[in-house]
Amino acid sequence: MSPVLPPARPTLTWAGLVTGARWMVPLILPVSIFGLAVGAVAAQKGLTLVELSLMNALVYAGASQLVALGLWPEQWNGAALTAIALVTLTVNARLLLMSAAFRPWFGPANPVIAYGALLTLTDANYIAGQRYYAEGGRDLGMFIGAGLLLWVVWIVAPIPGYLAGRLIQDSRAFGVDLVMPIYFSAMVARLWQGRNDSLGWLVAGLVGLAVQRWQGGTVHVVVGSLAGMIVVALLTPATKEEAGR
């Protein structure tokens, strides 16, 4: 039995920031298109440009913004405010699982840097970051650089959509709703590592579908992905010795 080495303290370099930003270059266009859609919806819901930009800069979670804006009330009160917060929490609950997944990588780092980096957490730098980590990368700059580049895109891109108002009249005919699903699927396809993943992802899909049919809303994302993750964890040998390699 070989001794277990303490985890290496991750670095944070300028080169890492540039690497992370480069990972996100193919995403600039799809994220911009998604941003245009959010800007257009915000215009329809009567937000001012300052309000929209503030939301993009502070919330920086496109799917939740789109869903929340879809439910944006005309008359505000405490209940409406709570409902918007709960909807945002539900759509973004997957970020909780994603942030947990960065413990092995960010754990040994300075907590201020680790938590600061997590402020930029989105689906995109989560997936890219996990791939980078799986390939042996440990530079925190990669994650932060990826997050910051898309953050800037996310602040800028919705503005023309807002100004054009109803620029995208029929978003379905132009496949705007499929941009994120297609891109996300292509990225995760590269993370597939064998039968365990196939089984886990199948379970996640079926549980997600069942819960969505039963509950509606967005909670199926959390329940389904947790179910898939548990299946993969249980199929994995508990110790390295058991795995026998």
């Binding site: 309000e51 699927s185 292509a186």
Partner: protein, 103 residues
């Protein structure tokens, strides 16, 4: 008119920000109290795919052939080593064509 901001809207944006920052940090925080073994690490590694499956299966069932074919083409191209952007362009083009054809 497009530069001012109402108090309620600001409050809503701040509430959305608070819950989002919370989920961004809390999972990482919690894991500080749990040892990460090979099982948990394998689970986390597979999580992106599980998120995709749980999110997109209902979408595909609801939306029909355009979404299904687009996602399958994108996955196939990614597995074949094509760039993510190329996979996106081809798959999205196909989906738009299918939808314009009336499906």
């Amino acid at each position: 008119m497009i530069v001012d901001a109402s108090l309620w809207t600001l409050l809503a944006i701040l509430a959305m920000t608070a819950v989002t920052v919370f989920v961004r940090m809390f999972g990482f925080f919690l894991m500080g109290f749990m040892p990460v073994g090979p099982r948990l690490e394998a689970g986390f590694r597979s999580l992106p795919g599980a998120v995709a499956a749980a999110t997109f299966t209902p979408l595909v069932v609801q939306d029909g052939p355009s979404a299904l074919i687009a996602i399958l083409v994108a996955v196939g191209m990614a597995r074949a080593g094509r760039s993510d952007l190329l996979a996106l362009c081809v798959a999205l083009g196909l989906a738009i064509a299918i939808r314009q054809a009336g499906f």
